[in-house]
Amino acid sequence: MVEIKGVKKYFKNIKAVDGVDLNIAKGEFVALLGPNGAGKTTLVEMVEGIQIPDEGQISITRKTWKENRTELHKMIGISLQETRFMDKINVRETLCLFASFYGKSQTRVDEILHLINLTEKARERVNALSGGQRQRLALGIALINNPILLLLDEPTTGLDPNARREIWSILNKLKQEKTASLILTTHYMEEAENLCDRIVIMDQGKILMQGSLNELLVSNNLKNTLYFNFVEKTDSQYFSDFKMVWKEEAISGKIILNEMNEDIRRFMKIIESKNLNIKDMEIKSANLDDLFILLTGRHLTT
C-alpha cells in the first residue's frame, strides 16, 4: 500500500528525516511514535505530498506524487496538526465544501455527520464547537472521500480523555471495516497501543524500532519498571549504572528492569550501603515510554 524507501529530508543543517524505510499493508494501522522533533510530521508530510524528499522514494499503491498528484489526492484523507476551519461557516457547510472537492454528494455529508456524531451540531458554526468536536470535524473531513489511506497528525493532542476516547472509537470502527490504512503520529503511548497494529518508534529522524506493542517489549526483554521515591535528596551518581530517569532529580524516578531480580538486588544494595531511606516503591508492567528510555535514556513525552 505505502512504500517508503531510503527517505531523507534535511532542513538546512537539521536532519528531519534521516533514511527511513517503511512499508504499510492494506488495512494496517500504524502509529509513528516519538518525542517532538523526531521527524514524524515531516515523514507524514512527505507521504501527503506536501514535502518532497531530498533522497529516496515514496509510493502509494505504486504511484508516486510526481506523476499522480490528483489521483493520489483523491485516495488519501488527512488531518493536520491543529487545522482550523472557517469560523463563520457551519459544520455541514464545511463538510459540503470539502465534499465538493471530491465530487461527493450530500448523502456522504450526512453519513459523515452521523459517523463523527455531529448531526445535532450540523448547523453550529465552527467557532462554537469544542476542541473535541473540532477534531471530530477534522477527522470527518479526512474521511469524506472514503480514503484508502488516512494520515492523522496528532489527532488528539490537547484533548481531554473523553474527547480522545470518542476519536478512538471512530477510528476503531474504521479499523474493523479494514478498507483503509492509517498512519497516525502521536506522542501518547495509549493512543498507539489502543489503535494500531504496529508501532514505529522514531527518534532524531530515524526509526529506532518497530513492531506490535508486545513484540517491542518482549524483544527488548522488557516486562517491568521499578518506581521509587526517597525520603530526602540523595546523590544521583549512585545510580548511574541503571537504565533510568529521574522524575525529581535524586529524589524520585523509575528504573527499567531489564533483568528484574538482578536489578532489584543491585538497587537494594546501594540503598543499604549508602544508608538511604525509601519512602515508597512499586513495580509496574513496562510501557512504551520505558522502552524509549531503555533505547535512548530519554522520555518519550516531554
Binding site: 490528483t70 489526492h73 487545522t83 461557516i89 465538493s100 472537492f101 473531513i141
Partner: protein, 347 residues
C-alpha cells in the same frame, strides 16, 4: 458552474456577510462618510432656497416680489420658501463656489436666470420661483454658467466609491487569504483535489459581488439624499468599476501571496492603501500637489480609478477617452495576479 466552484464561492460570500463588522465598514461606513461630508460641504438643506439677485435691482417682477415679501435686512427678503439676496457679482460668484446658492437673477428688465443647467436643484428652484411671481407671466431668459468645481458631493462620491472598491478588495482578499494560510486551511485545502485557481477566482468573484452591492447601495443613497446622477453611460461606469476591481484584486493577490503573518499582512496592505487614500484625490483634488508629485500620483491605480469614475459620473465622458486608464488598470491587475500566483505560498 462546477459544484466545487459554487461551494467555494458561497463559502466566501457567507464568510463576508456573517461578519457584522464587515457589513458596517463595507456598507454603513461609506454611507455615513458620504452623508457626513455631503452634509458638511454640500448645499445646505435650508428651508428657504437661496436666490441671488445681482445689483443693480431693475426688474419690475422682482421688485414687486420684494415689496410683498418679509424684509430680513436691506439686502435679504424672504417669501414663499425663497430667500432673495441682493448683491454684486463678485460676491455672488463666491457664494456659488461655496455652494451657498445655485441660482442667480441678472440685472435688467427682462427676467434672466443664470445657473448651471446640469444642476437640477437650480432648475427646480427656478421653476418653483416662477410660480411665486404674481403676474402669472412665465417668460424668462436662461443664461448658462458653468460653476467651477460643481458640487462637492459630486466630486466626493466617485472618490468614495473608488476608495471603497480598493479597501474592500484589498482587505477582503488579502486578509482572507493570509488568515486562511495562517490557520493552515490553505494547506489543508490543497491536500484535496481542489482546483487551485477556482479557490482564487471564487474569492475574487465573491468580493466583486459584494463590491457591486456596496457600490449600488452608495449610489442609491447618494441619488436619494443628494440627487447624485450618472451623466455617462451605464456600460462605461460598469467597465470602470470592473477594471478597478481587477486592478485591486491583482494587487491584493500579490500582497498576500507569501506571508502567513496577519500583522505583516496588515502592514503591507496599509503601506499600499493609506498613501493612495491620502494622495489619490478621494476627498480633495490631487492637483494641489506639486507638479512632479502629480505626475506620479495620476498613474496610481486608485487615482486612475477615481478619475475615470468621476469623468463618467460627472462629465459623461465617452469610452474613447477612457481607454488608457482602463487598459492600465486591467493590465496592472492581470500582471500582479500572474506574478502573485507564481510566487503564491499555499503553506
Amino acid at each position: 458552474m462546477k459544484q466545487q466552484f459554487r461551494q467555494l464561492f458561497f463559502t466566501h460570500i457567507k464568510e463576508i456577510i456573517r461578519e457584522p463588522a464587515v457589513i458596517f465598514w463595507g456598507m454603513a461606513f461609506p454611507l455615513l462618510t458620504a452623508w457626513g461630508l455631503g452634509m458638511a460641504f454640500g448645499e445646505k438643506s435650508e428651508v428657504e432656497k437661496n436666490i441671488i439677485v445681482l445689483k443693480p435691482l431693475q426688474n419690475s417682477q422682482i421688485i414687486q416680489w420684494i415689496e410683498k415679501s418679509d424684509k430680513v435686512n436691506d439686502s435679504v427678503y424672504v417669501s414663499d420658501g425663497f430667500s432673495l439676496t441682493i448683491m454684486d457679482e463678485s460676491n455672488a460668484i463666491i457664494q456659488l463656489k461655496r455652494g451657498e446658492a445655485s441660482l442667480m437673477i441678472a440685472p435688467g428688465n427682462e427676467l434672466t436666470f443664470i445657473y448651471d443647467p446640469a444642476n437640477s436643484e437650480a432648475e427646480t428652484a427656478k421653476l418653483q420661483f416662477m410660480e411665486t411671481l404674481s403676474n402669472g407671466q412665465n417668460k424668462y431668459i436662461t443664461q448658462k454658467i458653468t460653476v467651477p468645481g460643481n458640487r462637492y458631493i459630486d466630486f466626493l462620491l466617485p472618490g468614495l466609491m473608488g476608495m471603497n472598491i480598493m479597501m474592500s478588495t484589498m482587505w477582503g482578499i488579502s486578509y482572507g487569504m493570509i488568515e486562511k494560510r495562517k490557520l493552515k486551511l490553505l494547506r489543508r485545502m490543497i491536500a484535496t483535489p481542489m482546483n487551485r485557481s477556482y479557490f482564487l477566482w471564487s474569492l475574487i468573484l465573491a468580493r466583486f459581488l459584494i463590491n457591486v452591492a456596496e457600490m449600488l447601495l452608495l449610489f442609491i443613497f447618494a441619488t436619494l439624499l443628494f440627487d447624485f446622477k450618472l451623466q455617462g453611460s451605464v456600460l462605461n461606469i460598469a467597465l470602470v468599476f470592473i477594471s478597478s476591481n481587477i486592478s485591486f484584486a491583482g494587487l491584493a493577490v500579490i500582497l498576500s501571496s507569501r506571508t502567513s503573518n496577519t500583522e505583516v499582512g496588515n502592514g503591507l496592505i496599509n503601506a499600499i492603501v493609506t498613501p493612495m487614500t491620502v494622495v489619490s484625490g478621494v476627498f480633495f483634488s490631487y492637483h494641489n500637489f506639486p507638479e512632479f508629485a502629480e505626475s506620479i500620483i495620476k498613474w496610481l491605480p486608485l487615482t486612475m480609478s477615481i478619475d475615470a469614475l468621476r469623468s463618467v459620473f460627472n462629465e459623461g465622458i465617452a469610452l474613447s477617452e477612457l481607454w488608457l486608464p482602463l487598459t492600465l488598470l486591467n493590465l496592472s491587475g492581470i500582471l500582479f495576479f500572474i506574478v502573485g500566483l507564481k510566487i503564491f505560498k499555499w503553506y
